[in-house]
Amino acid sequence: MLMINMKKIFIPIIAFAVVVSSCKKNLELLPTDSIDISKAYTSVDDIEKGLMGVYAANNLANSANPDGKIYIASILADEAKISNENRGQGQFTFKWQYSSVEGEHNADFARYYVMLDRLNRILEVIENIPAGTPADNARKAKIKAELLGLRGVAHYELLIRFMPSGYDANALGVAIMLKSDITAKPARNKVGEVVTQIESDLSAARNESNLPNAPTDVVRLSKAAIAGYQARVALLKRDYTAAISFATDAINFSGKTLATGGVYQNYWTDGNESETIWKYRNQATPQLLWRDTNGDVFFEPSDKLKNQFNKASDIRYSTFFGAIGGDTSVVIKYPGSSSGPQINDEKIIRISEMYLTRAEAYAESNQLTQAAADLNAVRAARITGYTNVSFAAKDEAVNAIMDERFKELCFEGFRFFDLKRKGLPINRNASDVQSTSWQNLPANDYHFALPLPQHETKANPNAQQNPNY
């Protein structure tokens, strides 16, 4: 009797045990929609895809919810004015009322560290990636050079946003990241240290023989593009000799010339790459930036900017500004391309910037003839019936070149950083503001050093906030 009972007790226990053992295996599930870390980068093709992911992070517009360089450099400076249809978009930034709270003014902090993390992860494994053929080896070397170049670019972009205005090698820069580290809590490096790192990465990239001189593929780095960034860094640190040399390299390596007339107009619809040294490919998102999808205009070009142009003879006026619907003053520098209306690639380095950079470096080093020559070259390409100018004094030349940068590079992510770099104030026209409270930002005001995001200062005990935020 007892035996039978025991048997019957065992039935449930055995069944129980069978289920336990069979379930262990069934608990091992792996994702279908994502890639496991062990499979991410195993071939040269993979790291090339990884590299393209790094390029993808360098979005200067981020148009869907604009907070990239093209947007902030215009509304922070004197390029734009708030229009009647603005419902609050970008107003904190425009009025210099931003704080450490996350917004368009400091969104790039995260973006460029994401870019650095992506490229550092590949740099960490790249030596172990098998490359069977000489072609693969060359491709791998080129990818590595591009990654190093991009590391310099990312640090540069971070630096110009979060450093104070002017140039002081001992001022607070940004944290240098040379490896991917999920536990990192780095302190900020000094401006000089960051610049040294950028220079070292850029020159390492330029030394790679497999990297082409000319931008044969304009969405990827070339020696010309690296030289362009070297020129920018030199201008930032006011090393004008180096700036002249790098800008010259960029111009010469690129093989590009200044575009004129129809070619220049067509250039803005991505119809040609006549001036492109490097660009960001955008095939999907309309660059509304200063506008809304429903046609509302949030920011117009400022009167100050428009007044700089000779409206009749300067091709740029009608190319950059126009009327849309009921709005008579709209930025149309991104009118659209074959990808669709308002969908344009973002120009990262154009040949005209390099001319103006070299002109500025010449002017600053008192080589006024050469400065005038570069400036005249740009103006002659843009203005019909242009007569060359010459300069008698350094300041006159520098001011003229700054004004030309204002005009030529407007809405391309330069104006705020140019004023900041030179330690100049922002002075808006009275007609461009509703209140004098946000008309002028004095030179070297603390707002020039954008605040680190609150997230960063809370999460990283070593992150030092910029003063007054």
Binding site: L27, E85, S99
Partner: protein
């Protein structure tokens, strides 16, 4: 030898005669409606002899002559003891047991007698769940069980509520309870396709013993719905129907009318002369108009006059009185061995927002079968729901009808002279309204629930059983934007104009998500009473759960205007027309395993021990931390079974419960099914694909655990005229998941870690009293109230981190508002003033001055009370619910009390007319020259008391119905849902499922007239 033989024989005969000293007792058991009640247990008091009633409610048993009374008991009815009459039959009428102390607790795997249960649980009976005009049953539970927080986030018919039992335990993980229907765990928050009229009861399990069987999923409490089962006997047919209307509720603020708004625009113009708003542009006070000719000024005056005379009531435009109806037809019947319950239901509710509605069709079949050794149960339901939505529900956009209602300008008209919608830039009202007719937004949902369980008694003491169930849901959303309309033109390329040169070509898209959960469970049971005192019950359970989810969506462009709302109208995309459809989708899944032993030991009916040990695993955690043990134990003491309590005649029930145990929440992992892994994803750039890191991952993640200590007392006094229970608890969640903010230099912004300890301590009281109880008249008052103190005890390595407009800080509750403290408006300058961190007044707004002094959005005090008056056939029921001591960020205030939005062409609230204009003005509305910042001014007390339901019903008397020959019972009722809300909150609805008011769809008021009929 012969003598001995005859002696023995004589003894035997004597014995036989002794045995014959018993008699037959028979009788009938009926319910209050005169319906026979089958399967009622009838036991002769003082003996082991007993029987059950048959389908006609008739019983027949043999009782010793010495026996004096019978104990009549059945699940769902109040037990009775009746005297055995000297002659004749017994007729017993059982009263339905709707008290809080129902005799059986459904714990999902078992039904346990409440007297032998040490867990903390509340039963909500069918009369409180059925026929409430709400399509999502979680919303119905508000105020009906202690410690159960139900807050609705949307009045869109069918939307689920946020439900929390005993406070939030996890900072970053889920805090929703587990929902179980007829033993089958079901998907959280998707109840629109389930008919609550099919529910017999809802049990709310709160403490560790109660939820132990759900160990890895039960830490946030368990809500168990049990659907109606068939009753043996002739097929009973029931019809329940309701008709009614839905209406917008009250709102505690006033927007400006046209005259006021124009006057306000003039005030703004004085401060900001360059603005271009009609109230200023046409004003004689505008210096720009000073030199204009008199005729022009007169024309301006006329323009202002005509604008003033337009007063469009946008609330009437966007909100409406909708219709409501529901119908159920139920069939119930069967034999002793097999019973069935069949039901079909139709439910239709119009939302108070234009276009929004819900229509639901449900069917159910429940079959229960019992033979000598085998019990078998089959439950199934299918529900199909179609919902139409307003545009951009619950978002701060101009397309959201509930935002547009208040932002639209009163001096604008809806239609042009030619009858078309007066859409255009800045025309908020017409733009939002036109969208209703230029777009579609709807969802179709199919939900199938089916489960089967069987239990076989191998011997008298040992049983083996199994359970298998499926919960399947598929939802397909449809989104259309019609071509060449305002809505498509505004949508952007390729559906819109982009540069204004082409008209929007329209779009059509579907999104499909499916959810499948399947469970297999086997259980072995052992039950034996040793020496008549030691009642032992052991269950061994092994359970495997597999969940799979899939999503697929597409949107196509270039819609043929003649064929709207169908994928057939999509233009195939080419490189040239750029109408490339967008396609997306995903697949994921998880698996759970649980093995457990559940033990109950009752000693002499006085002391019961409930215990459980489990071993759990989830595929959602790293392999090393995947398996986790949980345990729980509790004791119950039935005090009245003690001899010393014999004299306590006024005490009719008294039990003390003490329990402690651990559990976890596998349904609350905030990082999805594979979030613990460092992962890479694919993107596209420059027409090629990319490989980029997509998830930081954390291979040290482990289970969140919650330990609960509970002490409870159940009591009844004066023959249960007063019944209730009180519970105190300490619930401590540890290893709780925190979305740790990490430096951006890592390439990520946050990562999940097990770092926090969160404590919930509270007390819950539930009480029901029959204040007056006579044959004709009963007045019952009942209610529950719970206080929960939530506190973050530890966050690991950090002390705090901000999260939106909240801060997560040690010592504060979860959801603490974090804002700079408002100090008023400077009368001299009109500048807004704030308090710095050290309490000084400043006119400089700095985020660093934010403080956490403004409470939390999780109400610490919650409850409900009901009152019921019964007079003969009439019954009047009222239900009030309240949530007290919480505050929410009123983002609507930020919009409506903000002159910047008037500059952008929106309407504001009347209070804005007190805006600061000149030195010396004492006001709370700052000058338009200063930026309006988010501050404590916008954090408001949202406490509310809501008159949730009022029902007046009449039960037709038996005699009256008998004359109809077809009706067995009938009841008519009228009810009002969400009748009135008392609150200081100035938004339209203080109740919401989150911390911020952002033009959510408000809760409607619903009036219905209903009928319940039982056919013969």
């Amino acid at each position: 030898m012969r003598r001995l033989f005859f002696f023995v024989l004589g003894m035997l005969i004597f014995s036989a005669q002794l045995l014959a000293q018993s008699r037959n007792v028979s009788g009938t058991v009926l319910d209050v409606n005169g319906q026979p009640v089958p399967n009622v247990s009838v036991r002769v008091v003082g003996t082991q002899s007993g029987t059950t009633t048959d389908t006609r409610g008739v019983f027949n048993l043999s009782a010793p002559l010495s026996a004096k009374s019978l104990q009549i008991s059945s699940v769902g009815f109040v037990s009775q003891t009746v005297a055995i009459p000297a002659q004749g039959t017994v007729s017993v009428t059982l009263l339905a047991d709707n008290s809080t102390l129902s005799t059986v607790v459904v714990t999902g795997y078992q039904r346990i007698k409440r007297s032998e249960y040490s867990g903390s649980a509340t039963k909500i009976t069918s009369d409180k769940v059925n026929f409430v005009p709400s399509a999502s049953f979680d919303q119905i539970l508000q105020g009906k069980a202690p410690g159960l927080l139900v807050t609705s986030g949307s009045g869109q018919p069918g939307t689920s509520a946020r439900v929390q039992i005993r406070g939030a335990s996890s900072i970053n993980g889920g805090n929703a309870p587990l929902y179980v229907i007829d033993g089958m765990p079901v998907e959280q928050g998707v109840f629109q396709s389930i008919n609550p009229d099919d529910f017999e009861s809802v049990d709310v399990l709160r403490d560790a013993v109660a939820t132990a069987q759900y160990g890895n999923r039960g830490s946030n409490g368990v809500i168990i719905a049990t659907t109606k089962k068939g009753k043996a006997g002739k097929t009973a047919v029931t019809y329940n129907g309701q008709f009614g209307v839905t209406q917008p509720g009250q709102e505690n603020f006033d927007m400006m009318n046209s005259a006021e708004l124009l006057q306000f625009q003039e005030m703004l113009g004085k401060a900001l002369p360059t603005i271009n708003l009609p109230g200023w542009a046409y004003s004689r006070n505008n210096p720009a108009n000073a030199g204009l000719p008199a005729a022009t000024l007169a024309q301006y005056d006329r323009t202002l006059d005509s604008l003033r005379s337009i007063n469009t009531n946008w609330k009437d435009v966007f909100q409406r009185t909708g219709s409501f109806q529901s119908h159920d037809l139920n069939l119930s019947g069967g034999s002793d061995a097999t019973r069935y319950f069949l039901s079909g239901g139709y439910y239709s509710e119009d939302g108070i927002g234009e276009r929004s509605d819900l229509k639901r069709y449900t069917v159910r079949a429940n079959v229960d079968s019992k033979t000598d050794k085998l019990t078998f149960s089959f439950n199934s339901s299918a529900g199909y729901t179609r919902r139409n939505f307003i545009e951009s529900e619950n978002s701060i956009t101009l397309a959201n009808a509930f935002a547009a209602t208040y932002l639209a300008l009163p001096y604008q008209q809806l239609y042009n002279a030619d009858g078309s919608y007066a859409t255009g830039s800045g025309r908020v009202g017409p733009n939002a309204y036109a969208r209703f007719f230029q777009t579609s937004s709807l969802s179709d949902q199919l939900k199938l629930l089916g489960s089967m369980s069987a239990n076989y008694d191998i011997t008298k003491n040992i049983s083996l059983g199994g359970f298998a169930g499926i919960d399947y849901r598929t939802t397909t959303t449809e989104r259309s934007v019609y071509p060449n309309t305002y809505a498509s033109n505004a949508a952007g390329f390729p559906t819109g104009p982009g540069n204004g040169s082409t008209t929007g070509q329209g779009s059509y898209g579907n999104g499909n998500t499916s959810f499948l959960q399947s469970i297999v469970r086997i259980n072995g049971g052992y039950h034996k009473v040793f020496a008549e005192k030691h009642d032992v019950d052991v269950q061994l359970i092994s359970e495997y759960t597999r969940e799979k989810q899939q999503a697929f969506n597409y949107t196509g462009y270039g819609i043929d205007v003649k064929r709207l709302n169908t994928p057939a109208a999509i233009t195939p995309g080419t490189k040239d027309n750029l109408l490339i459809p967008v396609i997306g989708g995903s697949k994921t899944g998880r698996a759970l395993y649980a093995g457990m032993a559940l033990v109950r030991y009752t000693f002499a009916g006085k002391y019961t021990f409930n215990g459980s040990i489990r071993r759990d695993a989830s595929s959602q955690l790293p392999e090393e931390n995947r398996w986790q043990n949980f345990y729980a134990g509790g004791v119950t003491w039935a005090v009245l079974k003690e001899n010393f309590a014999n004299a306590w005649s006024k005490v009719s029930d008294l039990r003390v419960r003490l329990s402690y145990g651990t559990s976890a929440n596998a349904d609350g992992f905030p990082f999805g099914n594979f979030g613990y892994l460092p992962l890479y994803g694919g993107g596209t750039y420059n027409s090629g694909s990319t490989i980029i890191p997509s998830n930081a991952g954390n291979l040290n993640l482990k289970w969140e655990k919650i330990a609960t200590l509970n002490l409870g007392v159940d009591f009844g006094f004066f023959k249960n005229r007063i019944v209730g229970s009180i519970d105190i608890y300490n619930k401590r969640g540890y290893d709780n998941l925190v979305d740790q903010q990490i430096p951006f230099e890592t390439g990520f912004s946050d990562n999940n870690i097990n770092a926090a300890t969160v404590q919930n301590r509270g007390v819950e009281l539930q009480l029901t009293t029959d204040v007056v109880k006579t044959d004709d008249f009963t007045w019952t008052v009942g209610g529950n109230v719970a206080y929960n103190k939530n506190k973050i005890v530890s966050l690991g390595q950090v002390k705090e981190f901000p999260q939106g407009t909240e801060i997560v800080r040690v010592g504060l509750p979860i959801g603490a508002h974090y804002a700079v403290k408002w100090a008023g408006v400077d009368a001299a300058t009109g500048a807004p003033l704030y308090y710095t961190k050290d309490g000084k007044v400043t006119n400089v707004y700095s985020d660093d001055d934010a403080v956490a002094e403004f409470g939390t959005y999780n109400a610490p005090w919650i409850g409900g009370f009901n009152t019921s008056l019964k007079f003969k056939g009439f019954q009047l029921d009222g239900l009030f619910t309240f949530q007290e001591g919480f505050s929410r960020y009123n983002n609507q205030d930020f919009f409506q009390l903000n002159s910047a939005f008037a500059l952008q062409g929106f309407n504001l609230r009347k209070e804005m007319l007190t805006i600061w204009q000149k030195a010396g003005d004492v006001t709370n509305i700052q000058s338009p020259l200063y930026q309006r910042q988010f501050s404590s001014k916008d954090v408001q007390d949202a406490s509310f008391l809501r008159f949730r339901n009022l029902t007046l019903s009449y039960n037709f008397q038996k005699g009256l119905l008998n004359s109809t020959k077809v009706l067995n019972g009938a009841r008519i009722f009228v009810q009002a849902q969400n009748l009135y809300t008392w609150t200081k909150w100035t938004g339209f609805d203080p109740e919401d499922d989150n911390n911020i008011a952002a033009y959510e769809y408000p809760t409607p008021r619903i009036y219905t007239l209903g009928l319940n009929v039982n056919f013969k």
